[in-house]
């Protein structure tokens, strides 16, 4: 694998093909984040593309003060949040606690739970119903494997909040899973 700094300097000097290597390296990071936050597959690809075009435009400003993955994740997070604000208004992002309560109280029909293919797809379906901030920290921590500090840097949420969201989201999913397993 080529050195990241070398690739970046080639991209900054106008080598578009070098950027292709960078996109391949970070496409999972961006697609997972955007995919989980936005949840509309039609928009996902356009937004992922938008993220990488922003990365390309601003790469000369990247000063290696953080990991490149953290910097790209910051751009992806900002892009996804802006898109969500545009599409569903600010309410959807700020009413997370209420959403969480509703989500917590709603219990699905056991029969409909039973038809879910398997535990993994059941959990993924449940994640989709979580409030956006919960989905964010879950995805970043478990799928993208960022640390609490990195999630703080990316999202601007204090570390305590990150831990709290993560804890509550996992607890919530665990309870759903328990219910699911009971009916299986």
């Amino acid at each position: 694998m080529q050195n990241e700094e070398e690739i970046i300097s080639r991209v900054v000097n106008g080598d578009v093909m070098a950027f292709k290597i960078l996109v391949k390296q970070y496409e999972k990071l961006v697609t997972f984040m955007i995919g989980r936050l936005v949840q509309n597959t039609e928009d996902t690809q356009d937004l992922c593309q938008e993220v990488f075009i922003k990365v390309y435009k601003h790469l000369s400003g990247f000063k290696f003060q953080s990991k490149l993955s953290t910097w790209i994740a910051q751009i992806a997070y900002g892009t996804a949040i802006n898109h969500l604000k545009k599409v569903s208004g600010k309410r959807n992002l700020t009413d997370d606690v209420a959403d969480f309560e509703n989500y917590h109280k709603t219990t699905e029909d056991p029969e409909s739970i039973l038809i879910k293919k398997n535990t993994s797809s059941f959990i993924h379906q449940q994640i989709e119903q979580l409030p956006v901030h919960y989905r964010t920290v879950l995805t970043m921590y478990h799928l993208n494997e960022f640390s609490y500090q990195e999630i703080e840097e990316i999202t601007g949420m204090p570390e305590g909040t990150v831990k709290n969201y993560l804890f509550r989201a996992r607890k919530l999913l665990k309870e759903k899973l328990e219910l699911y397993m009971q009916y299986q």
């Binding site: 578009v16 093909m17 950027f19 292709k20 996109v23 391949k24 496409e27 999972k28 961006v30 697609t31 997972f32 995919g35 989980r36 597959t41 996902t44 690809q45 992922c48 593309q49 990488f52 075009i53 390309y56 535990t119 993994s120 959990i123 993924h124 994640i127 879950l138 478990h142 799928l143 831990k163 804890f167 996992r170 607890k171 999913l173 665990k174 899973l177 328990e178 397993m181």
Partner: protein, 139 residues
């Protein structure tokens, strides 16, 4: 049932990662459910696996570069045209003011034809650029 603390959850997750994430059937305790949950959380969602971005991103960047280049080129043409007209005006007015007057009269008579020619040139340029852009995106 006793709730697991954040530290215990982290330890569980670390254990889970070490065990290569094989799905196990949970028992009655919280830890087993969390193990199962962590395995599922680390699974890549199927819906996002098949998105090939690199090619489309590079194409889009090339299109954007082309657009930028064409704007620069068009601005240069406009600049050269205006500079040429101004220098011709001042040169003719210095060499022969009488010829300048008749030239201005000629332009005044045929100004709409000139505007039409300039418009046609502009439209052809835009159409050409759009065609190139379309071909680049579809290739």
């Amino acid at each position: 049932m006793k709730e697991l603390s954040e530290k215990e959850l982290k330890r569980l997750l670390e254990e889970q990662l070490e065990q290569d994430g094989k799905q196990r059937s949970p028992g009655n305790d919280d830890a087993a459910f969390y193990r199962l949950l962590f395995t599922a959380l680390a699974d890549e969602p199927d819906a996002f696996k098949n998105i090939d971005l690199a090619e489309s991103v590079v194409k889009q960047i090339q299109v954007n570069e082309l657009k930028k280049e064409s704007i620069r080129y068009n601005l240069l043409i406009v600049f050269v045209f205006i500079a040429g007209m101004l220098s011709a005006y001042f040169a003719i007015s210095y060499i022969s003011p009488v010829f300048l007057k008749s030239a201005l009269n000629f332009i005044d008579v045929y100004k709409w034809i000139a505007v039409f020619i300039i418009l046609c040139f502009g439209i052809i340029q835009i159409a050409d650029k759009n065609l190139v852009k379309k071909n680049l995106l579809s290739s």
